[in-house]
Each structure stands twice: as structure tokens, then as C-alpha cells.
């Protein structure tokens, strides 16, 4: 039982030396492995849910799958107002599913891929590109560039900053929430381990030595904090990320 507390980044399992200057070496990290696992879980779930589809006398499984699809459709349609963005539905659903499963996978002791800034940055950049593309499609390149000079030309740098702040804030919000969960879970486990070591160390002799090495208090108590930091925070952040994605894109299409 270590008395030191540390929060470390994802483990690097294997490094492929690519020699590409800017990108550097390709590291197979815990993030990538777990995100592949998440993809396998989601795809497996999809295949499992859509097995044996029927029109009448549907099973509970099919009802659940239909509920998920309806939820996805309604989420996008209600927030954009109409069927204009139906192409976004699979993207937003994939984003949400990946995010939720990634956040909740920490419950089984794996490291969330979302506790790595690169993951959220990737998503946020994709969303940012989509927002920009929608804006350019709506207003044209000239209109898009002109949008930066409103209300007056002096505001241009601030407008550019606020434009760039969108992906940064989206990524950091999600990342920070999940990382805070990781850190606080780590802190709680560490503190409970120390506490149980101190508590059972009071028992003299071999029994005390043996018991003090087992973090008995760690069983059960972290589940209570996990309700907020894993379940609530994980679902909420995934929801907010998708909500913001849809709303930003819908707003981008409305301008002009």
C-alpha cells in the first residue's frame, strides 16, 4: 500500500516509431485501447438490439432500440426545429453513445478515454469544423468572414477569439468534468486506503499487519460518490456536449 498519491495520465503500452516530424511517435495508449473497446461495446449493443426485428409483437429489446432511435431523432429535431438536420442524427448519436460509454466505463475500473484531452479535442474540432462549414454554407465565404467584423471592425480579434473559444470550452468542459471524477475517485480511494490502514493497524500483531494491507473501507463508500462523479457527471457531460453541438450547428444555419 503506497502512501503516495498520484494521478497519472493514460498508460502507454506500445510505441510505434513513425519518424514523422510534427506528429511524433504513434503511441498505443490506454485511451486508444479503451476507446476501441467502447466502439466494440457500442457496435455489439447495436447488433444485439436490432436482432430479430419484427413489425408486430415486438420484444422488449426491440422496444428499447426503437426508443433509443426515437430519442435520437427527437433530440436533434426538437433542438433544430425541423427535419433539416436529419443527417446529423447518426453523428450526434455516435457522439453521445461514445461519450456516455466512455464516461461510464470507469465504473469497471478501466481508464475513461474521455479523461484524455486528445479525445475531447478531436470531437470538439470535428464539431467546430461542422459549425464553420454550416456557417459558410449558409452565408457564403464572404458572409462568414464579414460576420467577424460585427458589430464594428475593431471587434474582429475578439470575435475570432470567441469563435475559437467554442471548441476549447467544449473540450475542456467535458475533459475537466471527467478528469475531476478520476482525480476525486483516486483521492477517495487513497484516503480510504490510508484510513483503513490506520484503523486496522491499531490491531496488534499479525492480524493487524494483514488487515491493514487491505483497504477494507474502500468497499462500498466510493460507490456513493461515484453516483455523482461517474453516473451524473458522465451522462450530463455527454448530454451537454451533444446539446451544444446541435445548438451551435442549428444557430450557424440560422444566421444571415
Amino acid at each position: 500500500m503506497s502512501n503516495d498519491f498520484s494521478v497519472v495520465g493514460p498508460k502507454i503500452y506500445y510505441t510505434i516509431h513513425t519518424g514523422i516530424p510534427i506528429l511524433g511517435d504513434f503511441n498505443i495508449t490506454e485511451t486508444l485501447i479503451v476507446s476501441w473497446l467502447v466502439m466494440i461495446i457500442i457496435t455489439g449493443l447495436c447488433i444485439f438490439l436490432t436482432r430479430d426485428l419484427r413489425i408486430e409483437n415486438i420484444s422488449k429489446r426491440q422496444a428499447f432500440a426503437e426508443m433509443l432511435v426515437e430519442m435520437g431523432n427527437n433530440f436533434v429535431r426538437n433542438n433544430t426545429g425541423g427535419n433539416k438536420f436529419d443527417k446529423l442524427i447518426p453523428f450526434v448519436s455516435a457522439l453521445f453513445a461514445t461519450s456516455v460509454i466512455s464516461n461510464l466505463i470507469s465504473l469497471v475500473g478501466l481508464r475513461s478515454p474521455t479523461a484524455d484531452l486528445s479525445t475531447e479535442a478531436g470531437w470538439a474540432v470535428v464539431v467546430f469544423i461542422m459549425i464553420t462549414a454550416t456557417k459558410i454554407k449558409t452565408n457564403g465565404v464572404g458572409g462568414y468572414l464579414k460576420g467577424f467584423t460585427t458589430p464594428i471592425a475593431v471587434m474582429t480579434p475578439f470575435n475570432i477569439l470567441s469563435e475559437l473559444a467554442t471548441p476549447v470550452s467544449m473540450a475542456c468542459r467535458h475533459f475537466g468534468n471527467i478528469l475531476s471524477g478520476v482525480v476525486i475517485d483516486g483521492l477517495i480511494y487513497w484516503a480510504l486506503g490510508l484510513a483503513s490502514a490506520a484503523l486496522f493497524g491499531l490491531i496488534p500483531g499479525v492480524v493487524g499487519n494483514f488487515l491493514s494491507n487491505i483497504p477494507i473501507l474502500s468497499v462500498g463508500i466510493p460507490a456513493i460518490t461515484g453516483v455523482y462523479f461517474d453516473w451524473f457527471s458522465g451522462c450530463m457531460q455527454a448530454f451537454i456536449f451533444c446539446m451544444l453541438t446541435v445548438m451551435y450547428i442549428a444557430n450557424a444555419a440560422e444566421e444571415g
Partner: protein, 93 residues
């Protein structure tokens, strides 16, 4: 390792620690903001109890967005505690 280096490292570590502490002041804003949001939401629910579901979900969304600044502070604090010392140590060695 000379005395100067040890002093420099000590100052760097102290700066990181103080900075992390200051960064977490950012938690005050979201705390106040979320408190206001929740109190207003409770008032709304008190006035119109039939809107409880809508008000609650919107409030949660707003709270989560308002929490962003606090999260920024938290991330900054984490950076200062876990990343910055290593960086400074690398420079100072």
C-alpha cells in the same frame, strides 16, 4: 545540485502550489451561480409545480454550463500540481 538550484526549485514548486490554490478560487463563481440558478428553479417549481420536469432538466443543463468556469479553474489547478512541477524541474536540472 547547487544551493541556487534547490532554491529555484523550491520557489517554482511554491509558485505552482500557490497558483493551484488561487486557481481553485474559480470555484466560487460557479458555486454562487448554481446556487442562484437552483433557487430560481425552486421558486419556479413552487409557482408552477406542473413544470417540475422541464424546469429541472433545464436547470441541470444550465448548471452544467455554468460549472464550466469552475472546471477551467480545476484543470488549471491540476496542471499546476501535476504537470507544471515536472516541466520546471526539467528546465532547472
Amino acid at each position: 545540485m547547487g544551493d541556487f538550484q534547490i532554491l529555484a526549485k523550491g520557489i517554482a514548486l511554491a509558485g505552482c502550489g500557490i497558483g493551484a490554490g488561487c486557481a481553485l478560487i474559480a470555484g466560487i463563481g460557479p458555486g454562487i451561480g448554481e446556487g442562484t440558478a437552483v433557487s430560481k428553479a425552486l421558486e419556479a417549481i413552487g409557482r408552477q409545480p406542473e413544470c417540475k420536469g422541464d424546469v429541472t432538466s433545464t436547470m441541470l443543463l444550465g448548471c452544467a454550463v455554468a460549472e464550466t468556469t469552475g472546471i477551467y479553474g480545476f484543470v488549471t489547478g491540476l496542471l499546476l500540481i501535476f504537470v507544471a512541477p515536472g516541466m520546471f524541474m526539467g528546465y532547472l536540472n
